[in-house]
């Protein structure tokens, strides 16, 4: 098999206050896969995400992205390859205009002039926000801000897109629109979510993290229909939703 885009081996991490959040996580994601990362509150999902682009440094084990280990020496390249969209768009959008915000990442990579413009407009086109390019981000609605947050990362043309709870706080229409956008992107995707129908809809594969270890890894349909596994890991399907009636996704 080819080199995985994301290769996490035996990753363990304790926060400075001594709390051990990850106990030897193994995760491999290959080119073009869409993977859902599931797990109850406090399972360590966000902690894992923060390792993928070197914000946190592994206590033990290793993370590499397309063969390049996540280490201080090539953080800049790692951050180009791994695009992380954080949960709160207000954390992600910090510049005065949508244009400046989407351009921030590529400009840090040394891109400027017409190529920068092209990247910005292309990323905004992908999320359907091109008309808002000169607006200040804090005047947009929440769903629009979430879409611009996705664009800020797409503009860096990452190899893997990592989203922390992308559907949270979105109304049903914005949630569906974001799903359409994510499905239309030709990029490897790792999506942290509590929204199990969303995981089933978008990601053929699901990984369950519980108390800092991976406890399941397989087709999303199989994970969601494994009642014992679901119960053991505090995963609950929303009322009225039964994956069996929806069926596995292609």
């Amino acid at each position: 098999m080819s080199t995985p885009v994301l290769d996490v081996r035996g990753l363990a991490y304790a926060y400075p206050d001594g709390h051990q959040a990850l106990y030897g996580v193994d995760l491999h994601v290959h080119q073009g896969e869409r993977v859902a990362l599931l797990g109850p509150n406090g399972a360590g999902k966000t902690t894992l995400v923060l390792h993928l682009n070197g914000i946190l440094t592994a206590g033990a084990g290793s993370v590499s992205v397309s063969g390049l280990p996540v280490e201080k020496a090539h953080l800049q390249e790692i951050r180009r390859r791994v695009g992380v969209v954080f949960q709160d768009p207000d954390d992600q959008l910090f510049m005065g205009t949508v244009r400046a915000d989407v351009g921030f990442g590529p400009a840090n990579l040394g891109i400027k002039g017409p190529e920068l413009d092209r990247r910005v407009m292309h990323a905004l086109d992908l999320v359907g926000m091109a008309d808002f390019v000169d607006r200040p981000p804090h005047h947009l609605s929440f769903g629009q801000r979430r879409r611009v947050a996705v664009a800020t990362v797409l503009a860096m043309e990452p190899e893997i897109l990592v989203l922390d709870e992308p559907s949270s706080n979105l109304d049903p229409a914005s949630r569906r629109e974001l799903a359409d956008i994510l499905r239309s992107l030709d990029v490897t995707l790792l999506m942290v979510t509590h929204d199990l129908p969303y995981a089933l809809e978008l990601c053929p594969r699901a990984v369950v993290l519980s108390d800092g270890s991976v406890v399941a890894d397989g087709p999303t349909y199989d994970v969601l229909t494994d009642d014992a596994l679901m119960r053991a890991n505090r995963l609950e399907l929303p009322f009225g939703f039964d994956p069996r009636t929806v069926g596995p996704r292609p």
Partner: protein, 222 residues
């Protein structure tokens, strides 16, 4: 969510004053203020002239005068102080409407009143006719150190978020029976201020992480 719509000081328009380059407006405001402050306070008619200039600019900008006047309330504490001066200052006294007041104090109050009001009016006119983004770009063009401009840009960006947060905390407080009138509840105010500080600080950290994630290395891209 927290973000309100439109900055509270800006009045949208397309007048020549709106269109003038921001850095020119900032320089003009600065020069105007310096001249006003440097003018001896006894030159009474000259201040009338200054006021005329400000009013002319406001008229040209087509920002309603009431819009500007309403926002003049920021000056009220200073006015209060100015009104106090004639009564607390010492020296030779004079009589105004049957009340004995200090001459020095009266003159000082006049100066504070007129110079302060002119400054506030002129600044509000700048704020009403210039988008915050433009203002920042203007400061940049005037070669204000880049770090300072960035700090101001972040302030503009997160002002709404933080005031929104403050507003939500107030709603949460009031919903649970808090009353700002009751002195026994005041310690809660101090604690929520502390909480607001911690929240803003942690948001700062998260924003920094988000910046690092997009390749920030300590310098803003140009």
């Amino acid at each position: 969510m927290g973000a309100g719509h439109g900055h509270k000081l800006h009045f949208h328009g397309h007048s020549p004053v709106h269109r003038a380059p921001a850095h020119l407006k900032i320089l003009t405001l600065l020069a105007f203020m310096l001249v006003v402050v440097a003018t001896p306070r006894e030159w009474y008619p000259v201040f009338g002239l200054y006021l005329l200039v400000v009013v002319a600019v406001i008229a040209l900008s087509r920002v309603p005068v009431t819009y500007i006047l309403k926002r003049c309330v920021v000056e009220v504490p200073f006015l209060f102080f100015a009104l106090l001066l004639p009564f607390v200052a010492t020296g030779p006294t004079t009589e105004v409407l049957g009340v004995t007041v200090s001459q020095h104090g009266l003159l000082a109050a006049w100066a504070l009143l007129v110079k302060g009001t002119l400054g506030v009016l002129a600044s509000l006119t700048l704020a009403a006719t210039t988008e915050p983004q433009e203002l920042l770009r203007g400061l940049e063009r005037l070669h204000l150190p880049n770090q300072l401009v960035q700090i101001m840009a972040f302030m503009v960006r997160y002002l709404d978020v933080v005031t929104g947060e403050m507003q939500r905390m107030k709603v949460a407080r009031d919903s649970r029976g808090f009353s700002a009138r009751n002195p026994r509840h005041w310690p809660v105010l101090a604690r929520s201020l502390g909480a607001l500080f911690i929240r803003s600080y942690e948001r700062g950290e998260r924003v920094h992480l988000a910046m690092l994630s997009r390749g920030y290395t300590g310098r803003m891209p140009r």
